[in-house]
Amino acid sequence: MNSKRTQMGYSLSQIKKETGQIREYNRKLKLEIASLKSPERLENKAGKEFGLRYPLPQQIVFLP
């Protein structure tokens, strides 16, 4: 009975530790996403790697 309880205590704290680590990893990934999606980086990438640029005034068509 007692040893069972101890055993469960061990696995419980182990799982808690793991969830903590996974949460932390998740936060790190979120940070990475946020940094990768920062407008500055995207603009740079779009311009340099894909040759995109902002439309010139004469390229914009306004639909009434």
């Binding site: 205590g9 704290s13 940070l31 946020a34 407008p39 010139l56 009434p64």
Partner: protein, 652 residues
């Protein structure tokens, strides 16, 4: 002999008995000492052996922009510490550590020689640095977890968000103002662990209330980025000392962007000077110059002393007040009130002001929120200076009409323009939209609030009409115009006071443009101010392009429908009927010519196969996803080619 023997046995029994008795006494006394005398003390000592306290520094709350994008985020990082007494060969250890961490060797040595039992070597190290140090395998060196704040958008919105210290205390901006909510409290657990220190049971769960809250701001990350970029460019071009660009929603008072130059990167804020951290939109005040005329007009129209069509004499550019002569930049004769605003005539402003009267004008300035704090949820707001009229000289009263002798903050000016834009309500600006808990449920929401009604909606409408003239071709700020959107605004070029001569400087100006767009149903108020631009200092030349650039981009970003007068609308439809007339060649969508290889870039595998089948081509497919490359190139005559190599790549 036998009796003697018996006696001896008895003596031996007695001796043994006494021995036993004494030993038992000893044991009993010891037991008494341990259990009764020292009992509680010892049991607590034992408890210490198998229970421990675990302190978790809970991480600072996250700050999101209005669309839920992270602006500030804390994550755990390792910090390197040492227990100096356990480090053996200190000199070599210091040398190796310094090399691995790129630190000064002497400083490391000093820390290792410290008499304390604990010292930081380097806080918040990178994973690579940890690897390097672990390879060194020095005893007495250890890692602990600490929380570090990251600002993924870097300079964007930095002055609004502010930053937090290494110890997770907010130092500037929203981080400071809302520190109470963002800062989680330390949570302590008691736990039972075994001889090896492994946890068995946690006692006492965390209390929800101690969790840090997250903030959702009114800022839009993308608009902030655009404003920052446009302002940075304008400051660089005009070689100004500093600049501010505020984008606000006039109906609510939500701040969408607050860009400030000089800028700083809050991830490494300690490398910048405090003056670079300052949110100048809120803490810096200047004279509004001619932008003031917009509020003069609002007051005068509200009181009914003039109408936009009233004609006033602008005195051919010279008008004596007391012993001074007021000049206009260009001499004007008779001008309508509408034109006075359009050309920004100072003498005309005085004429309007004289009809309104200084007292009443002062009253309206106060109603527009000048001389008092806007009440924004941000630390360090200044309220500017609005002096009482009775303390003013005759010249002072008259120059107040065109914005001298008063100081205002950019935010006050933006809010006052907002009042004209939204039909007369002065709004309280705000940056934090809501405070939410870790599960995303709102703890507190913030809503728009009207401070007061300044002018009637009809007056506001008239002022908007007059201010639209400013951005016409012959106005002072044609560069503020945005294609297909109506703009209303007012320029200002305020002379700065030279602190040494105590007079207005002829070289130092503040160039301002404040306005809103689309003027018939304003979606945005934008205020741009550049401090001490070199070269041409006019607000209409330096500040107006920023307005136009940021305004155009933001209207598109927010999907605001362009405004067309009916005539243009018809023309626009005709435009659509003949779109091919455009000279602009659009390269990306090359039409496929019959008898040549079509352009397959961007297509999926199925479409490629379908097209190839129609043309009777054999296709070699490489990769999967969408076409990024094709050999031969589009437009090559079909006759020579019977096969086609197409490279696919999954969309990124």
């Amino acid at each position: 002999m036998r009796i003697k023997d018996k006696k001896w046995v008895r003596i031996r029994i007695y001796i043994t008995g006494i021995c036993f008795f004494l030993v038992f006494c000893l044991i009993f006394l010891r037991a008494y000492q341990l259990q009764i005398l020292k009992g509680s003390q010892l049991s607590s000592l034992a408890k210490k052996g198998y229970t421990g306290k675990l302190t978790l520094v809970s991480q600072r709350g996250t700050i999101f922009d209005r669309n839920g994008k992270e602006l500030a985020l804390s994550i755990e990082v390792d910090s390197l510490c040492c227990y100096p007494k356990k480090v053996k060969n200190k000199k070599t250890a210091a040398t190796r550590l310094a090399r691995a961490l790129d630190l000064n060797k002497r400083e490391v040595l000093k820390k290792l020689h410290s008499s304390r039992s604990f010292a930081w070597i380097k806080r918040k190290v990178t994973p690579e640095e940890i690897n390097r140090v672990q390879k060194l395998n020095i005893t007495g060196i250890d890692f602990t977890k600490e929380s570090r704040r990251y600002y993924p958008c870097m300079e964007t919105g930095a002055h609004v968000i502010g930053f937090a210290s290494q110890d997770n205390k907010g130092l500037e901006g929203i981080e400071l103002r809302y520190n109470r909510y963002l800062e989680g409290q330390e949570t302590k657990f008691s736990r039972i662990h075994d001889a090896l220190g492994r946890s068995l049971i946690f006692d006492g769960p965390r209390i929800e209330k101690q969790d840090p809250s997250n903030l959702i701001l009114t800022l839009d990350k993308d608009i902030s980025y655009k404003a920052q970029k446009a302002l940075r460019e304008a400051v660089r071009k005009s070689r100004a000392k500093s600049g501010v660009c505020i984008v606000m929603r006039p109906q609510t008072g939500e701040i969408l962007a607050m860009a400030v130059v000089p800028e700083f990167n809050p991830n490494i804020f300690w490398q910048y000077q405090p003056y670079e951290w300052r949110n100048r939109a809120i803490t810096d005040c200047f004279e509004p110059g001619s932008t003031q005329k917009a509020f003069l007009l609002a007051g005068a129209l509200e009181e009914g002393v003039v109408s936009p069509e009233t004609v006033l004499n602008c005195e051919k550019g010279e008008y004596p007040i007391g012993s001074y002569i007021i000049h206009d930049s260009k001499p004007y004769g008779m001008l309508k009130v509408r034109e006075i605003l359009k050309f920004s005539s100072n003498i005309g402003a005085i004429k309007i002001g004289q009809r309104l009267g200084a007292e009443r004008f002062n009253y309206y300035l106060k109603r527009f929120g000048f001389g008092e704090q806007t009440g924004i949820d941000f630390p360090g707001e200044r309220k500017g200076i609005l002096r009482p009229i009775r303390n003013m000289s005759l010249v002072g009263k008259n120059t107040l009409y065109f914005g001298q002798g008063i100081s205002v903050s950019p935010l006050q000016l933006a809010m006052a323009f907002g009042a004209i834009a939204n039909g007369g309500h002065l709004m309280r600006p705000y940056i934090v939209k809501s405070i939410v808990d870790q599960r995303g449920e709102a703890i507190q929401n913030f809503y728009p609030s009207i401070i007061r009604d300044v002018i009637s909606p009809e007056t506001a409408e008239k002022v908007r009409g007059v201010l639209e003239g400013v951005v016409r071709k012959d106005g002072t700020a044609p560069k503020a115009a945005i294609k297909k959107y109506s703009v209303a605004g007012k320029t200002g070029t305020a002379q700065k006071v030279d602190p040494i001569r105590k007079a207005y400087s002829n070289k130092k100006f503040v160039a301002i443009f404040g306005g809103f767009t689309p003027s018939d149903s304003p979606a945005l108020v934008i205020l741009v101010a550049l401090d001490e631009p070199k070269g041409i200092p006019y607000g209409g030349i330096v500040a107006a392009p920023v307005f136009s650039d940021v305004g155009c981009w933001t209207l598109n970003h927010l999907n605001v429908t362009p405004s067309f007068p009916p005539a243009v609308r018809r023309a626009g439809q005709q435009d659509l009927l003949h779109p091919i007339k455009r000279k602009e060649k659009i390269e990306i969508l090359r039409p496929d010519f019959p008898g040549s290889i079509p352009n397959l870039i961007g297509l999926g595998v199925r479409d490629v196969l379908k097209k190839a089948k129609q043309l009777g081509l054999q296709v070699v497919i490489k990769g999967s996803g969408m076409v990024v490359k094709q050999v031969p190139k589009p437009g090559t005559p079909l006759k020579k080619n019977r096969s086609l190599t197409v490279t696919f790549q999954p969309p990124a």
